[in-house]
Symmetry: C2
């Protein structure tokens, strides 16, 4: 397309929208046209919400969750069980566990996984904070809710070693057949793990 057809302000908006995950060059154009049609109800509020969240949302100094208050709402909630700490890679994983209602304790967000190939070492993710939190207070169990990938398992092993000095039980999520999953479609590794950790009915 000749550069002249789309004006510079509109082109810059499209270029920035293209950088968002889930939007390609074509859907970014569609989104830009949609926003221009909904200037007052969506476009201006979105511009404000972006700038506002960029200003106010910070990582919680205790657990690393993102919130506009510090400590975050999860850490500040007196109803939460403070004895179980759930370690997650990212805030998205924290949200996933909250959505499932799977954990009523507190969290610790690492902000990444150890990945020797990508050059991510122990000092690049928030491990020091985890060891410090696990050693004090009434924390009795640390649940490693990390991805069942090579990097996730590497990180889990490293954390288990680091937590040896703290008097906590280290657990991890169980592996097995997903709810609704058919055996025929499952990979061999999952099936083997599910068989190995079988439980009485």
């Amino acid at each position: 397309m000749p550069a002249s057809t789309i004006g510079p302000e509109l082109q810059r908006l499209i270029d920035l929208l293209t950088k968002m995950p889930g939007l390609g060059p074509r859907s970014a154009k569609r989104a830009a046209l949609y926003l221009l049609k909904k200037r007052e109800p969506v476009m201006r509020p979105l511009a404000f919400a972006l700038a506002d969240a960029a200003d106010k949302v910070k990582a919680c100094s205790v657990c690393g969750n993102w919130d506009s208050i510090d400590p975050c709402a999860v850490c500040a909630d007196p109803q939460r069980n403070t004895s179980v700490l759930c370690v997650v890679q990212d805030v998205a994983d924290l949200w996933a566990l909250e959505r499932a209602g799977a954990h009523r304790g507190r969290y610790h967000v690492l902000g990444g996984l150890l990945s020797p190939l990508d050059g991510v070492g122990p000092d690049d993710i928030n491990i020091g904070g985890l060891v410090a939190r696990s050693g004090v207070d009434d924390v009795s169990e640390v649940v490693l809710a990390l991805a069942a990938t090579v990097d996730g398992q590497t990180t889990a092993h490293y954390l288990t070693e680091q937590l040896l000095t703290c008097s906590v039980t280290v657990t991890r999520l169980s592996q097995g057949v997903p709810v609704g999953g058919e055996l025929d479609y499952l990979d061999e590794g999952t099936l083997a793990a599910a068989m190995k950790t079988r439980r009485p009915f």
Copy 2:
């Protein structure tokens, strides 16, 4: 998810992102987390670009295209053929034709299609402007580049009638086999149209 887990600023951002086409509730959350990680390179520039485009991008008073200058860059381009006017439903269609390099004349953006079922009548789209433009200057041909849908064809017929008083030739895009299309997968209507309008090889 308990309302308390995601702070109000972040929740409002997610709600607004969810309204964008192409982003569902889940991908809006993913986008929000991505943006918070890229505050300076993407999030703040996007907030600015949204507000800036909302302020500056206006519909061209001549053709209805969106641009920050008026008349728009297409209308102001002296290299464009002013005798052929291409009528499109929306700015997205104008961009599609420009991307294809299919038209080197000017455009007229209707801003919609006649749709009796949805209550869209002739006064709701920019037909008056089209008739006025077609009657003056050196316009000799009006190409109706409208969708091959019921509403598109209804609009095309109505426009053809309205343009009878202007001394212009009214044409429309041809229908037929898409480039790369296999006959076996084409619908009957398209095949019949392609056969009916067959041309010497």
